[in-house]
Each structure stands twice: as structure tokens, then as C-alpha cells.
Amino acid sequence: MSHEPRLVEVRRNILKQNDLVARELRQRFRDAGVFVASLVSSPGAGKTTLLERTLTLLGERFRVAALVGDLATENDAARLARSGAPVRQITTGTVCHLEAAMVQRSLDGWALDHLDFLFVENVGNLVCPASYDLGESMRFVIVSVTEGEDKPLKYPTIFNTADVAVLSKIDLAAAVGFDHEAALHSIESVRPGMRTIALSARTDEGMNEYTALLEEALHASRETAASAP
């Protein structure tokens, strides 16, 4: 009798479980008519400040809410709650990214069909979130002008999972000698044709373009849902 090991082909997607939950979430969001956008960036790129301003600006005309991932503290949720929008914290402990199941669990008891926009702020990290679909319809990757123009070249994978790039803290561009053209070139190198918005959540420069993009996306997704069989 032979003791040679036998090779068994299996072909399984390792993140299938996450992808299945993400697909369920996407369908649930579509059925409820809520547009879900997520934000990824390094720590300190200004996700929470951008989200706070977004909730305030869009909250004047739309029903908005947010889920925020954070390793340990609830500071971000407390900050965002000042906008008056419903905000929930997903404390991930030592986990460096959000997974679809965490988003799913945190939705318990929320009437999604009473919302227009739901924002999901990922944990500050440009590596790990790239592997996990959260069921969102649009993913923003945010890099601040203080991080350097070549950031996209260092993290091509996350740029290839995101839909829109945001250059944040543009009010500081002159102070840090930010080269706008070089940054756009870096983004174009790793993700040709990627939509890019430069903005400042402090001065509101560029915020109109950003909120207009979200509004268009909301209307487009509802039209698609309405025309679907």
C-alpha cells in the first residue's frame, strides 16, 4: 500500500464567505434605496473630518448615517455625532480592517429604507482593507497633501479597489509644497482614468464637487434599481 500523498484539486475562493456577505449587503442596500460609500486612507489623512463635513452638508437635504471602524476608541463616533446624523462605531479591537460581516452586524435595528446615504469609514490603513468587499457601491481612497505625491505608487492595490481618489487637506498644499500635477500623475499611473477630487473639509474648497458626485451616484443607483425587473 502506497503512502504517497495524493493531490486533490479544490479551487475555492479564500474570501468567499466575506464576498457572499458583501453581495447580500449590496442587495439589501439596493432594495432599501440607500447609497453606501466607504472611505479608506492611512491614519491621519482626514477621513473623520471629511465625513463630519459630509454628514453636515448632505444632512441638510438628505437622510444620512455613518458606521465608523476604529481599533480601540469611540472618539470618532463621538466627533461625528456632533453632525446630528446617526452614527455607530465598529470597534475592531486588533483587527486592522473592516469585513463585510462586521458591517452586517452593526446594521441591526437600523431602518435602512429611511436613509439616503450610509457612509462606512474603514480603519486607517491602506493595505488590509483592499482585500475586503464591504458591499459598498462606491469606495473613496483618501490621501492628504501632507503625505507626499507618490503615495499612490506605494499602495497601487488599494487604488485598484477604489472608485474615486480624494486629495484631502488641499488648504495646506502651499504650506507643504504639494505638487498637484505629480500627485495626479501618480494616481493616473496606478489607476488610469480614475476620478480624482481635490478638497478641503476645513475651507470647503472642492466639497461641492464631492457632494455633487455622491448625489449623482444616489440618483443613478435609484434609477437603475427602479428599471430593474
Partner: protein, 114 residues
């Protein structure tokens, strides 16, 4: 670092498959794309930890790294990408955004002993 949670998923899947086929798993084969967002070295380091005190303890992890292949609209052909820092056709230089291969994160095979 999310490789430990990936390693735990690999172990769960491999145990499930081993249960179906019977026998003891002595090696696990994966395919990982260059755009999957997973570092092979970190995954190898996490794998041993993820296997501890399971039926996979002592098994080997073998990783096939899958390069990125893009589709060039101008050449109307699939091309291997030369650098993740430059999404352009290696033949004609046209920017490319269609990714045909390189996001894989798959368990492809198990080596099983009776």
C-alpha cells in the same frame, strides 16, 4: 496585517475540504495574485500559528504568486503588467485599466495522506 485572518480562513477551508475527501492534509496550495493585497511572507508566517492545535498542524503552505495581466484596448491583446506602479501596456505604452488576472486569492489543491 490581515494575513492571520486570511490564514485562519485557509485553515477552515482546508479542514472542510479534507473532511469531504478523508485523510490528513500535509500540504495546502494557494494562488495569490499580485493585486490580492496579501503578502506571501506574512501569510507563511501566520499559517503555522493558524494551524496550531488543528488537524493541519505540521502541514506545509505552498504559494503560487500570480502576476497581473491586463487587457490593452489598443493592441487588442492580453499583456503581462511589468510594474504595479505603471498600469500601461508593455508593448505600446497605452494606459490600461482592465485587469484580467492578478486579484486571485484561491485555495487550489490539497495534498492528502491516508
Amino acid at each position: 496585517m490581515h494575513e492571520l485572518s486570511i490564514a485562519l480562513s485557509v485553515v477552515d477551508l482546508a479542514r472542510e475540504e479534507a473532511g469531504r475527501h478523508g485523510g490528513r492534509v500535509c500540504a495546502v496550495h494557494l494562488r495569490i495574485g499580485a493585486l490580492a493585497g496579501v503578502a506571501s511572507e506574512a501569510l507563511l508566517a501566520s499559517y503555522e500559528m493558524a494551524c496550531a492545535e488543528t488537524s493541519l498542524e505540521g502541514s506545509r503552505l505552498l504559494i503560487e504568486e500570480v502576476p497581473v495581466v491586463v487587457y490593452c484596448e489598443r493592441c487588442e491583446a492580453r499583456r503581462p503588467l511589468e510594474s504595479l506602479q505603471s498600469f500601461s501596456c508593455p508593448e505600446c505604452g497605452t494606459p490600461v485599466s482592465r485587469i484580467e488576472q492578478g486579484r486571485e486569492l484561491e485555495l487550489v489543491a490539497l495534498e492528502i495522506e491516508q
